[in-house]
C-alpha cells in the first residue's frame, strides 16, 4: 500500500476523532452556561444528537451530500453508503458514486467518518440556542431532519460539487456549511420557541447566569483543541506545509478573538466577562474556518480580532431584540459563520492555495470572489432558515416544541428525564436568591433616587 494513502488516512481519522471530541466541548460549554436544573437535559441533547447524526448521515445524509447528482443534491449512492466506489483512487482514477470527494486519497469509510463528525457539529450547535425550554423529543426529531436533509443539501452545493462550488464559492472547513447552517437552524428554532420565562420580563433584560463557569471554560478549551482537527483536517491529506500553516491561522484567530472580545467586553460592558471571552474565542475560530487555508496569518489575526468584537455586540444585540440565546450560539456560529465566509472574499490570497480562491478584494482580486461568497451566504441562509422554520413549525404543530411553564420553572432535568444532575444539592441556590416568585431570575439593578430612605446607609 502506498505510504501516502496510509499517512493521509491516519491524518483524516485522527483529525476526525478530534472533531468528534468537540461534542464534549459543546456539552460542557452549553451546560456551564445554563442553570443546574437543566443540566441533565443539555447533556442528554448533546449526547444523543451525535447518535442521531450518525444514523441520519449514514442512512441518507452522506448520499445527498456527496452522491453524483445535479447541482442541488446527490442522487447516486444515496442510502447507507451503498454507492459504487473505488476509493482511495483519486481524481481521474476514481470511479464511483461519490466523485465530488474523489480528490481525497483515503478509503470511503475514512471520508465518511470525517464528514460525519462535521455534520454532527452542525446539529449540536442548535442545542445551545434552544436550551432550557425545548422539548427533548422535538430536538431529537429536528436533528434527524437536519442531518438527513438540510445539512447535506447545502453541503452538496458547496462540497458535493454543486452549484455554489461551480460559482466559485469557497468554504474550506465550513464557516457556512457547518456553522452558519447550524446557526440558521437554531435561529428558526429560537424564534418559534420564544424566550425563557423571566428573561425579558417588564421589558428589561434579566440575566440568567450559567451555573458553572469552570465547566464552560474547560469545554471551550476542548473546542479550541478540536478545531485543530476541524481546520487542518479539512485538507484530508497530510500535506505538511498546509496543515501546519492552518494550525497557525486557526490558533491566531482564536487568540485574537479572545483578546478583542475581552477588550470590548471590558470597555463597553464594564468588566472582562469570562463568558464573553469564551464566546470570542469560539467566534474567532468560526470566522477563520472558511478561510484558514486561503489567508495569511496576519489576516487571520485581523479576522479573529473582528470576530471577537462582533460576538460581544451580537450577544447584546440579540438580547436587545429579545431573541433569547442562552449560550451565544447565534452570535458565535451564525453571525461569525457569515462573517468568516465573507472574509474569504476580502482576505484570500491565491499564493496559499494556488488555483482555488484566487485573490480577494484586499489583495487585488476585485469583487468576483466576494460576490460568490455573498451569494453563498444568502442562498444557504434562505434555504436553511426557510426549511428549518417549516420543520420546527411542523414539530410545533404535532409533538410541540416547548415544555410546559411548570416544567420550565421546575427544571427540564426533572420534567424531561425524571432525574437531577446534582441530587445531593437538595435545593438549587437560585430558589433563594433575590427573586419574588416562581424561581424567577434575579431582578435587574434598580435606579435609586438620591435622598430616599433606601439610599441612606446607616
Amino acid at each position: 500500500m502506498d505510504p501516502k494513502i496510509i499517512v493521509d488516512t491516519l491524518w483524516v481519522l485522527f483529525t476526525a476523532m478530534l472533531v468528534f471530541f468537540m461534542n464534549t466541548g459543546f456539552a460542557m460549554v452549553e451546560s456551564g452556561f445554563a442553570r443546574a436544573k437543566n443540566t441533565v437535559n443539555i447533556l442528554s441533547k448533546n449526547f444523543i444528537v451525535f447518535a442521531v447524526s450518525s444514523l441520519a448521515f449514514w442512512l441518507i445524509g452522506w448520499g445527498l451530500m456527496f452522491g453524483n447528482g445535479n447541482g442541488f443534491f446527490g442522487i447516486e449512492g444515496l442510502f447507507t453508503l451503498g454507492g459504487a466506489d473505488n476509493s482511495p483512487a483519486t481524481n481521474d482514477a476514481y470511479e464511483g458514486a461519490y466523485s465530488a470527494i474523489g480528490w481525497a486519497g483515503v478509503p470511503l469509510m475514512a471520508k465518511f467518518f470525517f464528514q460525519l463528525v462535521f455534520a454532527g457539529t452542525a446539529a449540536t450547535i442548535v442545542s445551545g440556542a434552544v436550551a432550557e425550554r425545548i422539548k427533548y423529543i422535538s430536538f431529537i426529531l429536528f436533528s434527524f431532519i437536519m442531518v438527513a436533509v438540510l445539512y447535506p443539501v447545502t453541503g452538496h452545493w458547496i462540497w458535493g460539487g454543486g452549484w455554489l462550488a461551480n460559482l466559485g464559492f469557497w468554504d474550506f472547513a465550513g464557516s457556512t456549511t457547518v456553522h452558519s447552517v447550524g446557526g440558521w437552524a437554531a435561529l428558526a428554532g429560537v424564534l418559534l420557541l420564544g424566550s425563557r420565562i423571566g428573561k425579558y420580563k417588564d421589558g428589561s433584560i434579566h440575566p440568567i447566569p450559567g451555573h458553572s463557569m469552570p465547566l464552560a471554560t474547560l469545554g471551550a478549551f476542548i473546542l479550541w483543541l478540536g478545531w485543530f482537527g476541524f481546520n487542518p483536517g479539512s485538507t484530508m491529506a497530510a500535506d505538511v506545509d498546509a496543515i501546519a500553516r492552518i494550525c497557525i491561522t486557526t490558533n491566531s484567530a482564536a487568540a485574537a478573538g479572545i483578546l478583542s472580545s475581552t477588550l470590548v467586553s471590558w470597555l463597553v460592558l464594564g468588566k472582562p466577562d469570562l463568558s464573553m471571552t469564551i464566546n470570542g474565542c469560539l467566534g474567532g475560530l468560526v470566522a477563520i474556518t472558511a478561510g484558514c487555508a486561503f489567508v495569511s496569518v496576519g489576516s487571520s489575526v485581523i479576522i479573529g480580532f473582528a470576530a471577537g468584537a462582533i460576538v460581544v455586540f451580537a450577544v447584546v444585540g440579540f438580547d436587545r431584540v429579545k431573541i433569547d440565546d442562552p449560550v451565544g450560539a447565534l452570535s458565535v456560529h451564525l453571525v461569525n459563520g457569515i462573517f468568516g465566509t465573507i472574509a474569504v472574499g476580502l482576505f484570500a490570497q491565491d499564493v496559499f492555495s494556488p488555483g482555488t480562491t484566487g485573490d480577494g478584494l484586499f489583495f487585488g482580486g476585485g469583487f468576483g470572489l466576494l460576490t460568490s461568497q455573498l451569494i453563498g451566504v444568502a442562498s444557504v441562509g434562505a434555504f436553511t432558515f426557510g426549511l428549518s422554520l417549516v420543520a420546527w413549525s411542523l414539530l410545533k404543530a404535532t409533538v410541540g416544541i416547548r415544555v410546559s411553564r411548570e416544567e420550565e420553572v421546575e427544571g427540564l432535568d426533572v420534567g424531561e428525564h425524571g432525574m437531577s444532575a446534582y441530587p445531593e444539592f437538595a435545593s438549587s441556590p437560585e430558589r433563594y436568591s433575590a427573586m419574588s416568585d416562581e424561581t424567577m431570575p434575579p431582578k435587574p439593578k434598580r435606579r435609586v433616587e438620591p435622598g430616599s430612605e433606601v439610599a441612606v446607609e446607616h
Binding site: P209, Y432, P442, K445
Partner: protein
C-alpha cells in the same frame, strides 16, 4: 437554658468558633443562610446586563447555653464577629424548653 442564634459574616466563623472554644463552648450548629438588612446588596453584570443581588450569604450559628452565661457568650460572639461595617449581623436569644442527648437520653444541662 437559652438558644443563642447568631447571624454573622461567613468569614468570621473561625474567629467566633475559636472564641467560643476558649470559653469552653465546643458544641454548636451552623447553617449557611442568606440575609438582607441595612447592608445593601451589590450589582453584578452578566453578558452585558446588570442585576442586583440583595440577599447576601451569611452564617447562622446556633449554640444552647445555661442562663448564667448567656450574657458572657453573647458578648464573646459580638466581639469576635464584629468588623464595624454595616452587615455584621444579629443575635437572637430564645428560651429553650428541654435538651436531650440522643446517645444516652440525658436531659437538662448535662445534655449540653
Amino acid at each position: 437554658m437559652k438558644k443563642i442564634e447568631a447571624i454573622i459574616r461567613p468569614h468570621k466563623l473561625d474567629d467566633v468558633r475559636e472564641a467560643l472554644s476558649e470559653e469552653g463552648i465546643r458544641g454548636m450548629t451552623m447553617i449557611e443562610v442568606k440575609g438582607i438588612g441595612r447592608q445593601k446588596g451589590h450589582t453584578e453584570v452578566y453578558r452585558g446586563s446588570e442585576y442586583q443581588i440583595d440577599f447576601l450569604p451569611k452564617i447562622k450559628l446556633e449554640v444552647v447555653v445555661p442562663d448564667e452565661i448567656v450574657d458572657k457568650i453573647v458578648s464573646v460572639i459580638v466581639r469576635s464577629a464584629r468588623t464595624g461595617s454595616v452587615g455584621d449581623g444579629k443575635i437572637f436569644i430564645i428560651p429553650v424548653g428541654e435538651v436531650v442527648r440522643v446517645r444516652t437520653e440525658e436531659v437538662g444541662e448535662e445534655a449540653l
